[in-house]
């Protein structure tokens, strides 16, 4: 054992790191957003940028407030939300059924993955003209386009969710003699749920994207049509107010899915 003097000569071991583990900083995120808006406002005010090219955050807020007060924006948002709800529900239900079948049954898997792999990369908005031909210019074509966009990520996430359920859990259930339907209900579905939710996260973003695109192509009402019209009229403050609303819609959906995750997948 080292004596007192020898011990004093020993150098402390330097701290060399903790494995690049990123921490959490909610304050940092909020501060970054506030800083971005502040810089934007400063650039608009101090450099005298034309509000046509870059309206200031204050101008956008005023436009947003005015549109809300007049009730116009909310009705546009309501129409888009209904289209999203219909298209997303249809696509998600069919996608779930097909995806679960792909995960559970050999033939459905072979056929499903071949078809999904071939069709998934197609930008769904490119099919809107075809949808309009099939279903007319009204609501069905927009809903079908959204449903198609939602179907693929939902089916893929459901199928990979089933794949991700540990086989030992299914073997365990089989060893206790659980019937097939019970295994699906009590083991496969809960096990696949986190992956399905991850698919929902993607599919809701796609639905938002597609509703705006579809409304820009062939609608008089809806947030997409509103943004397009504002752009055509050079009302860039209103255009960006619409964009802010879209961003808020996306955030609201992400929050809702996070709440679902906390409620039903807290076991992870």
């Amino acid at each position: 054992m080292a004596d007192g003097n020898a011990r004093n000569r020993l150098a402390p071991v330097p701290f060399r790191g903790a494995g690049f583990a990123p921490g959490e900083s909610r304050l940092g995120g909020a501060a970054a957003l506030v800083a971005l808006v502040a810089i934007w406002q400063a650039v608009s005010s101090l450099l005298g940028v034309s509000p046509l090219f870059l309206p200031s955050p204050m101008a956008i807020t005023r436009a947003l407030w005015r549109l809300i007060a007049e009730g116009d924006l909310l009705s546009q948002v309501g129409i888009s939300a209904l289209r999203i709800a219909a298209g997303w529900s249809l696509g998600a239900i069919v996608g779930l059924v097909v995806g679960l079948a792909m995960g559970l049954f050999t033939f459905a898997r072979a056929a499903g993955f071949a078809i999904v792999s071939a069709l998934f990369p197609i930008p769904k908005i490119a099919l809107l003209p075809l949808m309009i031909l099939w279903f007319g210019i009204g609501e069905p074509s927009k809903i079908a386009t959204i449903a198609l966009g939602v179907f693929f990520p939902t089916a893929i996430s459901a199928a990979s969710g089933v794949d991700s359920v540990p086989r030992n859990l299914i073997r365990m259930a089989q060893s206790f003699g659980l019937p097939f339907a019970d295994i699906v209900r009590k083991v496969v579905l809960p096990g696949a749920f986190p992956s399905i939710l991850a698919g929902f996260r993607i599919s809701t973003s796609i639905a938002l994207l597609l509703v705006v695109s579809a409304e820009m192509v062939g609608a008089e009402k809806g947030i997409g049509a509103f943004v397009l019209q504002a752009g055509n009229l050079m009302q860039t403050d209103q255009l960006l107010a619409g964009v802010v609303v879209l961003s808020l819609m996306g955030l609201a959906v992400a929050r809702a899915i996070a709440a679902l995750e906390r409620r039903f997948a807290s076991w992870r």
């Binding site: 540990p166 030992n168 859990l169 073997r171 365990m172 259930a173 089989q174 060893s175 206790f176 003699g177 659980l178 019937p179 019970d182 009590k186 083991v187 809960p190 096990g191 997948a265 076991w267 992870r268």
Partner: protein
């Protein structure tokens, strides 16, 4: 009388022969250990015995189970196989929910087995909140809840540290004494085999064949007596002498690819 008869079972995965002509009987209330080098087909045999894998050749037959049994043949898995989204009580109830028992009977059966396995205070805990030893207790409780005639245990203690393993072995001895059960116990740990088993089947390396069937020199209930420690140690050494060369060869085979 035999509770389980394994009759000339062979198995292959593709071109790989895993088991060759395995035949033995598991007696009533007997604990039969299956030991052998890694990859010799021990767990494959257990899957075949439990009906989770169809053998390429041969058959496994089971005797009449007691009328009280809800599932004559159940597993305790090496990795516990607990549903992470269900509580301890929920995991145990899973094994009973499709049986003839009503809801109240299920609750009573779960409470009974929780008490017997020392888990009563953890009924509403999720698996992630439990230690490895407690998780395996849940696995054991789930298997016991259906009152099996035969328990198939696949390296049930191998994922645990040595202290937890010792504690769980004590529990296992006590629980197995209480029940009218036969046990097929797959392990690579000869200490477990020497402590728990009435007989041990020694497998060769792949394809697994029965090299020897060896009976314990001392009855299970007398093994805690230090006077028999030497005899048990000799039996363990005898089992190891039969496995050692095979294990070494299997190890080299694995490294050689």
């Amino acid at each position: 009388m035999a509770r389980l008869v394994v009759d000339n079972v062979s198995h292959r995965f593709g071109d790989l022969d895993v088991l060759a002509d395995v035949s033995f009987e598991l007696g009533a209330n007997e604990i039969l250990a299956i030991v052998g080098p890694s990859g010799c087909g021990k767990s494959t045999l257990l899957s075949i015995a439990g009906g989770l894998l169809a053998s390429t050749q041969g058959a496994v037959r089971i005797g009449d189970a007691p009328a009280t049994s809800l599932n004559p043949l159940t597993f305790v898995f090496q990795d516990f196989a607990l549903l992470p989204w269900r509580t301890v009580a929920g995991n145990i109830a899973l094994a009973l929910e499709h049986t003839r028992l009503g809801q109240r009977e299920i609750e009573a059966a779960v409470a009974d087995v929780l008490a017997r396995t020392g888990l009563a205070d953890f009924a509403s805990a999720l698996p992630k909140q439990l230690s490895g030893g407690m998780r395996q207790r849940v696995g054991l409780a789930r298997a016991l809840a259906v009152r099996p005639a035969i328990l198939l245990m696949d390296e049930p203690l191998s994922a645990l540290d040595s202290q937890t393993r010792d504690l769980l072995m004590e529990d296992l001895e006590r629980l197995l004494e209480q029940g009218n059960m036969s046990v097929l116990y797959v392990t690579h740990n000869l200490d477990e085999a020497a402590r728990l088993a009435d007989r041990a089947i020694v497998f060769s390396r792949r394809p697994g064949r029965i090299r020897a069937i060896s009976s314990a020199p001392v009855a299970r209930e007398k093994r805690a007596d230090p006077a028999h420690a030497e005899a048990i140690a000799r039996w363990r050494a005898e089992l190891w002498s039969m496995i050692r060369d095979e294990a070494q060869a299997a190890d080299r085979e694995t490294i050689d690819g």
